[in-house]
Amino acid sequence: MPRPFPGVRPIGKPFWLMLPGVAWLLVFGLAPVAFMVAVSFWRSSIFGTTPDFVFDSYARIIEEPLYLDLIVKTLRMAALTTLLSLLVSYPLAWFLATRRGAWKAVWLVAVFVPFWISYVVRTFVWLPILGRNGLINQSLMALGITDAPVEWLLYNEGAVYVGLVYVYTLFMTLPIYLALGRIDPKLLEAAADLGARPWQTFRHVVLPLSWPGVLSGCIMVFLLAVSAYVTPRLLGGTSGIMLGNMIASQFLSNNNWAMGAALSVTLVGIVGALLLVTGRWIGIAEVFTGGKK
């Protein structure tokens, strides 16, 4: 390989330049995970959690249907949230990507501004909307559609979907919007020229070319939803509880760190395995390489 700067003597490969990045990964990435894995093998009793190497917590997860059921339910809720987000986001991303001129900026800002607000606050706003005396119930009663407030709007699984989709939808919209924006409009004309009706153009050109955006959006939303804590806590009541709430209560109220850690490790393991399996099937490599093979 020719030297980029003739006359400048190379001083060996400067591995030390990698140091900050590697240090960051070790301290903030690997160390906490390693610690969590270690804690999941500790022994817990009514007196608290003590360092050890036992499989008690994992055994309980497998033996007690309470945990397994909650894991399955959490995965199901995350999957459904992802699907709902996709259904909301694709048309929204398409709308944004096809705007032109000054209005495009206006629409983009309109979509993105709410996300400058903390997601906790954005979750809270559903309380006065869905609540017993909330906006929807007031409207329904004012219009004479119902006589009494509808009780099932809040504090159940459905309300959690509303909150999660609303809070995380942008993580789906953004990558799809970017992928759509990269599609050369001439390709749509070429498809039409070759006899493709609009839906065929969508099916055979737009969808495949935006697929990497769809995948990264789905992965993002799924990962966020599967570890949701605030939204089910605020909107879900007892029936809308998710694994994140269970893990938090192990640490905060049950004082059972080992169990909390074991549940976390289990979730990470399952999600990682899911990503690996589906990755083979849908070409996940493209998501992380920007669509280049």
Binding site: D184, K186, D193, L194, G195, Q200
Partner: protein, 361 residues
């Protein structure tokens, strides 16, 4: 022209963007099996016209007929046309074979028959061994061929070409010109080719329509366009010519007319149509139709001095000043005896009246 020989009929087509007319009252017929070029500078409306035929622009006035049927109400996917786009617009997520087969697949053609036709089309453009490639693994010329095959496999009534050779370097460009011409002859297909390159239009076309500022300037064979430009724009846009402002002084025999140029220069040339016998005219004389002779030659032509000699490889260009002070330019082959003429030399300039075209606008 018999109606059944017309592939595309453009009738009084206009296209307005606000106050700007991209197309203004354009009418022309493109014959079946013809290589027809739309030639003009950028922004002249040639691409707008082509896209109107393909269905990507809607004219605001007039009508477009393909094979005798008005197509204005048809979407691009319903029209019997196929386009080769300026930047080809190959589908990056599909391989060569899938790109070529896209049109057949969209129309739900029989799989086995489609596969056969795709192979046939690939053979036609000499890419039979490249079906499995991804389009980003192809060279510029190969990508061109894929675009051609992708359009031609659908057997369009009219093939529309939007400056597809614009991005290629000169050698490849000449090669692809030949290739396009070969395909068109072989298939007997109707090609409508948009270009701003007059040489390309000349070399490839059966007929050319010259456009400027949304208006049709002239329609004719390359020879007609070159030898008998209809107006000042065509005369300047196509080839190089001496343009001499003159006044008509009278008619002469065999469709010729007399005119007087600056400093008493007497000109005889092909009379303008519409029988004008006086008024201002523009005398157009192509550089290479002006003969330049060494001073000692016989008394033919008028005396002049060489002001500037430009070496252009296969030809030489002499800018001369006549005794009366007019400037005239002559192109000659780079050969004897003109090769030895130098700047400052006295020469004689001669031309035939049949090579001078007198234009009233």
């Amino acid at each position: 022209m018999a109606a059944e020989a017309v592939a595309v009929s453009i009738r009084k087509v206009g296209k307005r963007f606000g106050n700007v007319a991209a197309l203004d009252d354009v009418s022309l017929d493109i014959r079946r099996g013809e290589f027809f070029s739309l030639l003009g500078p950028s922004g002249c409306g040639k691409t707008t016209l082509l896209r109107s035929i393909g269905g990507f622009e809607a004219p605001t006035e007039g009508d477009i007929l393909i094979e005798g049927r008005s197509v204005l109400h048809l979407a691009p996917y319903e029209r019997p046309t196929n386009m080769i786009f300026q930047h080809l617009a190959l589908f990056p997520h599909l391989g060569v074979r899938e790109n070529v087969g896209f049109g057949l697949r969209m129309k739900g053609a029989d799989r086995a028959a489609s596969a056969r036709r795709v192979e046939e089309a690939l053979r036609l453009v000499r890419l039979e061994d490249y079906g499995e490639r991804r389009v980003d693994q192809l060279s510029g010329g190969q990508r061109q061929r894929v675009a051609m095959a992708r359009a031609l496999v659908n057997d369009p009534a009219v093939l529309l070409l939007d400056e597809p050779l614009g991005a290629l370097d000169l050698q490849l460009r000449l090669q692809m010109q030949e290739e396009l011409r070969r395909l068109q002859r072989q298939l007997g297909a109707t090609f409508v080719f948009v270009t701003h390159d007059q040489g390309e239009a000349m070399a490839m076309s059966d007929r050319i329509a010259v456009m400027n500022a949304g208006r049709l300037q002239q329609v004719g064979t390359p020879a007609e366009i070159y030898e008998r430009p209809a107006n000042r724009f065509v005369a300047t846009f196509v080839g190089h010519a001496n343009m001499i402002e003159a006044r008509l002084t009278g008619r002469a025999a065999e469709g010729l007319a007399e005119a007087e140029g600056p400093a008493g220069l007497r000109l005889r040339g092909i009379a303008p149509p519409h029988g004008a016998t006086d008024g201002g005219v523009l005398a157009v004389l192509r550089y290479e139709k002006l003969r330049i002779l060494p001073h000692g030659a016989d008394g033919e032509g008028i005396g002049a001095t060489v002001v500037e000699k430009t070496y252009m490889g296969s030809s030489l260009r002499f800018a001369c000043r006549t005794g009366a002070g007019a400037t005239m330019t002559a192109d000659t082959p780079n050969a004897m005896p003109q090769r030895d003429i130098g700047e400052g030399d006295m020469v004689r300039l001669a031309w035939s009246p049949e090579d001078v075209v007198l234009l009233t606008d």
